[in-house]
């Protein structure tokens, strides 16, 4: 390293277990909130989750979604604004379970949400036990600030991919940039490759 910042020592973060903190991230004990607009409040009786773009459209009411088999993944999460949080405990339905209900040959999905937010993902990033529709956090119902009643949870990608207030997945043949992906952020967002912005 030829360049260093005059006078900067920094605080060594040796509290992170080896191999758990992607480059450019630091640990936080809190749970910061980032979103682009007001927090939506859709009543549960009006809430549905939709998978569209396959042979037929599949839709679940809140009660139907809650009746599906659930999992309680413990995962590390990494926000593009550089905080990471280890060992977060969620409860939700695996995206595999939902996609199994639909016949399709899509290669990508676009998650869509209350408030108009969208985010795009390759199908392989949301299948194979890597993604959930999460409605519980730390043993409690997911707080609206953090995306409740339900958010997408894709912990191996930067956390903007874990879309809050998610209402469905659109199955697509081609990748289609979502909200942040149209506003300067990387199409895929792998924290281990520091895919933060366009051009990374």
């Amino acid at each position: 390293m030829s360049f260093f910042t005059r006078g900067f020592e920094g605080r060594r973060r040796d509290d992170a277990p080896e191999g758990r903190l992607p480059p450019g991230q630091y640990l936080t004990g809190g749970f910061p909130v980032l979103s682009a607009g007001p927090t939506p409040h859709t009543p549960l009786e009006e809430w549905t989750f939709t998978v569209e773009g396959g042979a037929e459209t599949a839709r679940w009411t809140w009660d139907e979604l809650r009746a599906l088999p659930s999992e309680t993944p413990t995962v590390d999460i990494h926000c593009v604004t550089r905080w990471s949080k280890l060992d977060t405990v969620w409860e939700g339905v695996s995206v595999d379970t939902l996609l199994d209900a639909v016949e399709h040959d899509a290669s990508y999905v676009l998650a869509f949400c209350d408030g108009g937010y969208t985010t795009n993902l390759p199908l392989e990033d949301v299948t194979g036990g890597k993604a959930w529709i999460a409605y519980g956090y730390d043993g409690e119902p997911l707080d609206p600030e953090h995306g409740g009643p339900a958010r997408l949870l894709v912990p191996h990608l930067y956390f903007w991919k874990s879309a809050k207030w998610v209402r469905g997945l659109r199955l697509l043949d081609d990748d289609e940039p979502g909200f942040w992906e149209s506003n300067g952020y990387h199409l895929r967002g792998d924290p281990w490759r520091e895919q933060r912005y366009w051009g990374d």
Binding site: F8, G10, R12
Partner: protein
């Protein structure tokens, strides 16, 4: 790489660093940039800061010292003119305003959340835009008001920025302005009516943004006209 060309104390806890960056491509009002600091042993720390200067001027960041922070105390207390820091940006294409987007414009700031909104207010003045614009700015005390004198100057003149302060913890003797937290009732008094088609930009700590954004929605603002940017205590 950027050189710090000026360091301006704004309040006892807040400082503006004016940067000279070769190849800076220009920014829009509301965007941010990433700062990367490197220790002699190669250890690095990176943070994002909103750009305070208007488009067309060199990038400037305004930083508030977080007492348990790693980067902000260094930027507020240690850095001096002539130092070089790595920056990257500008970043973000959502929380931006330019005169062509029209108005009326409602800016709602909590503490150092005023920074990206100041870039918008400065742009509006520099561009001589007559889009009606109002800033509602919540600070702890009069001493904590960032850009206090410049905001006073921006408020002067025929198409001046309307500035409404609220001071939530301490008020100067004789203070006649607001002295409470921003909530729906205060927004009802200060915000443009929803029917005006106003575009709102809200920036501040999470709880502040949450209260303001839901207050505006309760007053009839469509969600897509309430753009938010939040910061936690991220150091």
């Amino acid at each position: 790489m950027a050189e710090v060309v000026d360091a301006v104390a704004e309040t006892p806890r807040v400082r503006t660093l004016v940067l000279a960056a070769d190849g800076w491509p220009g920014h829009r009002a509301g965007q941010h940039l990433d700062v990367r600091l490197t220790a002699p042993d190669g250890y690095q720390a990176q943070r994002s800061y909103s750009v305070a200067s208007p488009p067309g001027e060199p990038p400037a960041i305004t930083v508030e010292r977080l007492e348990d922070g790693e980067v902000s105390p260094f930027l507020v207390d240690e850095v001096r003119a002539g130092d070089r820091i790595e920056i990257r940006g500008p970043i973000g294409g959502w929380f931006v305003w330019e005169p062509a987007l029209g108005g009326p414009l409602l800016l709602v700031a909590g503490g150092s959340g005023v920074v990206p909104l100041m870039a918008m207010a400065r742009l509006r003045a520099a561009a001589r835009s007559d889009v009606p614009a109002r800033l509602l700015y919540s600070s702890r005390s009069w001493e904590d008001v960032i850009y206090r004198e410049e905001l006073g100057a921006l408020a002067d003149g025929p198409a001046g920025l309307e500035v409404v302060h609220t001071l939530t913890r301490a008020q100067p003797d004789g203070w006649t302005g607001y002295a409470r937290r921003v909530d729906e009732a205060l927004l009802h008094e200060v915000a443009w009516p929803a029917e005006s088609g106003a575009q709102a930009f809200v920036c501040g700590p999470t709880a502040f943004v949450e209260a303001v954004a839901s207050g505006l929605v309760a007053l009839g603002y469509p969600s897509e006209r309430v753009k938010t940017e939040r910061f936690g205590a991220t150091g």
